[in-house]
């Protein structure tokens, strides 16, 4: 569904991404992992068109996304740290985004209800805690039933209940055949979710394997262990 | 009978006889000759030939093309129903060569054009007591031309031409070497000069309107001791020019919208001993331009919304400018030198920012009407483009506080706090 071809990006002296190639398919749930500053967020932003790559192309369903915007209709994005206009209320933000993505499809209000958004509608964004802001981000990401979900550290800052609700939602969507791209530092969290693992280091793609293959390769019995194994191996 | 009484009697008798004979004479001689279709005379020329002094020739409605008509008798030529005399662009229409002529109620059009003989629609040669009134003059070379005339009156004529080139056009009312004229209530437009005087003295120019003339609305030279009262000059090519003249009085005239590099509300060149009062100078490039003028008294005039209220060349001396209103002018006063031998007092300057602590109606701080930028523009005219920019305002303010470039003697020590009601 998403093809990443020879993507390179440099920020000043830092080579954020170096000729990364990836193929992502529907109903996959891909964990994007790597040490801090390895280029995860940059890769996500390039897929979303927020950052322009120096070289290479991103194809969405076979179409180059450069200078395109319509393909984002099929993507739900939850940023690592959601930044919103401070003086707008939750309700206004939801309204505005709804207005912009005036899709025909019925809205997915599951998370909206579960997170109790109704009571927050009148609140200004600047008054919200980090966790609540993340809830708004999550609601927005799932609201339009997108075919692709890109979740950057989705559970960071969420309380355990909310994190659990979100996880369940992710599984549900994966089972419904969506492509899910997820980054997280909490490896245990990814255990039940991911079908594939992508490992980036210093802007280079080190590994792209299915979770099962990875476990059997490393001989570990959990994903978390195999990834730790992987990290150690790379380090040596 | 005393000697004196007898002589009185004798005088009385003579007067009686004279009066009687006059009456008889008039009754017999002063006839009315009618000209027109179906009248006694079909043309003006035959009627004139048949007329005597003091006859009245009534010309009825129609178009008369009789070439040059010479009036050499003291007749009254009167149009009934505005008959048209047409010069066919070849002839001078009416040549007045007798005194005591009256020309009234005609439309005169298309006089001949010739640079040498200066033909006019009506030309008066060496005559006195001629009255020209209520005529309409259209598209003539010269309109009304008086030379060596005296005690003549030109009244309520409408004079209009439509030439574009100065050289193709003569003056509306042109007077040369004349004396004691009265030019009253005429309207002149589209000529080279509206009213032109040269060597004309002791005359009155009252209630005339001269506008849209190619060169000057009013132009006079070597014409001493004339009075210009309540005239209106608007949008003439170069405004009004007055040169080489003494003892002129100008009262209550309006000079308006004379725009251009060399256009002036009034240009005074080599004038002396004149008096200007109650005139309005509105929206002219330059209200008054003084060049070589001496002993002029300028008082109670309004200068408003002119580019330059007045420009005094350095060769002017002993002029008094007092009790005038200067309002909304871009520059109130400009000069080209640093020597100032003229007197400003008690004028109202709207740019004055002083105060009046003793409440005598006069500002306590002297006013320097010459702005720095007017000095700069004087030397470098295109710099006008920068006027009102912040830089320039700053410069001007600085100069007002610490004068350095503008002459110190250029000052009104008693500026008025409130405008005069004029």
């Amino acid at each position: 569904m998403i093809t990443i071809k020879d993507i390179s990006k440099r920020f000043g002296k830092l080579q954020a991404l170096d000729k990364v190639n990836l193929q992502l398919h529907a109903s996959e749930c891909i964990a994007l992992i790597g040490p801090n500053g390895c280029g995860k967020t940059t890769l996500i932003k390039i897929i979303l068109g927020m950052v322009r790559p120096d070289a290479g192309t991103v194809l969405f369903k076979g179409k180059d996304v450069r200078n395109e915007d319509a393909y984002r209709r099929q993507i739900g994005y939850m940023p690592q740290i959601g930044r919103y206009p401070e003086h707008m209320t939750v309700g206004q933000i939801l309204d505005m985004i709804k207005g912009i993505r005036s899709d025909e499809t019925a809205l997915d209000l599951e998370l909206y209800d579960q997170f109790g958004m109704e009571e927050l509608l009148q609140k200004k964004m600047r008054t919200l805690s980090g966790g609540t802001t993340q809830k708004v981000s999550a609601v927005l990401a799932f609201l339009f039933r997108p075919q692709v979900l890109i979740l950057d550290e989705p559970t960071a800052g969420l309380d355990p209940v909310a994190a659990d609700l979100l996880k369940e939602k992710i599984i549900k969507e994966r089972n419904a055949g969506r492509l899910i791209l997820i980054t997280s530092h909490i490896l245990s969290e990814l255990e039940d979710l991911v079908s594939h693992v992508v490992f980036l280091q210093e802007g280079k793609l080190m590994l792209h394997k299915s979770a099962l293959a990875l476990k059997s390769d490393t001989g570990a019995n959990s994903l978390a262990q195999s990834i730790v194994h992987l990290l150690k191996n790379v380090a040596t | 009978m005393p000697k004196e009484a007898m002589s009185t009697n004798k005088y009385l008798r003579i007067i009686c006889w004279y009066t009687l004979s006059m009456l008889v004479y008039t009754n017999i001689a002063a006839r009315v000759l009618e000209v027109g279709a179906g009248k006694t005379y079909s043309g003006i020329k035959p009627a004139l030939a048949a007329s005597h002094n003091e006859d009245t020739i009534k010309v009825y409605k129609g178009i008369y093309k009789e070439g040059n008509i010479i009036i050499d008798k003291a007749v009254c030529l009167e149009g009934v129903g505005q008959p048209v005399l047409d010069g066919e662009l070849k002839y001078e229409i009416l040549s007045v060569r007798s005194s005591h002529v009256v020309i009234r109620g005609f439309t005169l059009q298309q006089s001949g054009r010739a640079a040498m003989s200066d033909p006019g629609a009506i030309k008066v040669y060496d005559a006195a007591q001629v009255l020209i009134e209520n005529n309409t003059l259209l598209d003539n070379y010269f309109g009304i031309y008086l030379q060596y005339a005296s005690n003549c009156e030109v009244r309520n004529n409408y004079i209009k031409a439509s030439q574009v080139e100065e050289s193709q056009s003569g003056n509306g009312i042109h007077c040369w070497k004349s004396d004691s004229l009265r030019i009253i209530g005429n309207h002149v437009s589209g000529h080279r000069d509206g009213i032109y005087f040269e060597f004309v003295t002791h005359s009155v120019i009252w209630r005339n309107i001269a506008q849209d003339n190619l060169r000057y609305g009013l132009h006079f030279m070597f014409s001493h001791e004339n009075a210009y009262i309540t005239n209106y000059f608007k949008n003439n090519g170069a405004g009004v020019a007055v040169m080489f003249t003494k003892k002129v009085v100008m009262i209550n005239n309006t000079f308006e919208e004379n725009w251009g590099d060399a256009a002036y509300g009034v240009l005074f060149k080599e004038l002396s001993d004149c008096y200007l009062q109650g005139n309005n100078f509105v929206r002219n490039t330059t209200g008054i331009f003084f060049d070589g003028c001496n002993r002029l008294m300028i008082e109670q005039n309004n200068f408003s919304r002119n580019g330059w209220g007045m420009r005094l060349q350095a060769n002017c001396t002993d002029n008094t400018i007092r009790r005038n209103n200067f309002r909304g002018n871009t520059f109130d006063v400009a000069t080209n030198g640093s020597l100032v031998l003229n007197h400003f007092s008690e004028n109202y300057w709207d740019k004055y920012e002083g105060y009046d602590l003793n409440k005598d109606g006069l500002g306590d701080v002297p006013y320097h009407p010459l702005s720095l930028y007017s000095v700069i523009v004087e030397k470098n005219p295109p710099a006008m483009l920068l006027y009102r920019s912040f830089m320039i305002t700053l410069l001007d303010k600085t100069e007002k506080i610490i004068p350095s470039l503008t002459p110190d003697s250029f000052v009104d020590k008693t500026p008025k706090m409130r405008p005069y009601i004029l």
Partner: protein, 255 residues
């Protein structure tokens, strides 16, 4: 774009600074006309508002607003919206608000106290200057990533157009007083929108002097209807050019 524009305008109109700006303009212009019995003097005050205050406020407010809209832009960029639509909406919203503030603040006293022609040319110039300096603000905001730097660039640009440019031209006048530089100066004035506006207003206020003195080139250019149209086209170009360049850069910008 209209939908985004709606939110931008609602947001700006609620902004305290823009309300204060409107009130300040109103206060200055009403008192300028009210305190002086002389309309010409009041007009001068308003002229300085138009030529100095309006550009400064527009450029500063717009620059700061664009930087503060970082989150807003980021949020929208990840949505299926064209980047150009976001930028245009922000620009239109800001321009609209600045022009509205100017017209409410200055427009009413101008129309009350002066003749329609003068009022219209003042209002048109002020509105155009507002939009032009919003466009300039967009350019500096997109060039400098850092907020403080961006504001600095904006203030410098304002300083240049409002003050320094005239100084430079004046310097040219004195340096080349003996040469016929009139034509060049007319051309030069096109390089500063503030000067273009000033000359257009000058032609109205000081028409008597302007018609007389600066000679044929000037009269033929600015005095004619054609010149008027050209001047306004130039001003419109001053809106379009900075905005176009800022848009081009914004489209390629990494967020």
């Amino acid at each position: 774009m209209i939908r985004i524009l709606k939110y931008v305008v609602i947001d700006i109109v609620k902004n305290k600074i823009i309300i204060a700006y409107t009130l300040m303009l109103a206060l200055f212009s009403w008192s300028a006309f009210g305190l002086e019995d002389n309309t010409a003097k009041g007009l001068l005050t308003v002229l300085n508002l138009v030529l100095l205050t309006v550009p400064l406020m527009s450029v500063l407010f717009a620059t700061i607003y664009v930087y503060n809209s970082g989150e807003f832009i980021e949020l929208l960029v990840s949505q299926p919206v064209k980047r150009s639509a976001i930028w245009r909406a922000l620009f239109s919203g800001l321009s609209l608000s600045m022009v509205m503030a100017f017209l409410t603040g200055v427009g009413i006293p101008l129309l009350v106290y002066t003749d329609v022609g003068t009022a219209l040319i003042m209002l048109l110039s002020g509105s155009l200057l507002s939009v032009i300096f919003v466009a300039i603000a967009f350019l500096s905001a997109v060039i400098a990533r850092d907020k403080a730097k961006g504001i600095g660039v904006s203030i410098l640009l304002w300083l240049y157009f409002a003050l320094l440019f005239d100084g430079l031209v004046l310097f040219l006048f004195f340096q080349f007083a003996d040469y016929p530089i009139e034509k060049i100066v007319v051309l030069l004035s096109a390089l500063s929108p503030v000067d273009l506006c000033r000359i257009l207003i000058l032609l109205r206020l000081d028409v008597s002097a302007m018609m007389g003195y600066t000679g044929a080139v000037f009269k033929n250019f600015f005095g004619s209807n054609g010149g008027l149209v050209v001047s306004f086209l130039l001003l419109v170009l001053w809106v379009i050019m900075p905005f176009y360049f800022s848009l081009r850069r914004f489209k390629k910008k990494d967020l």
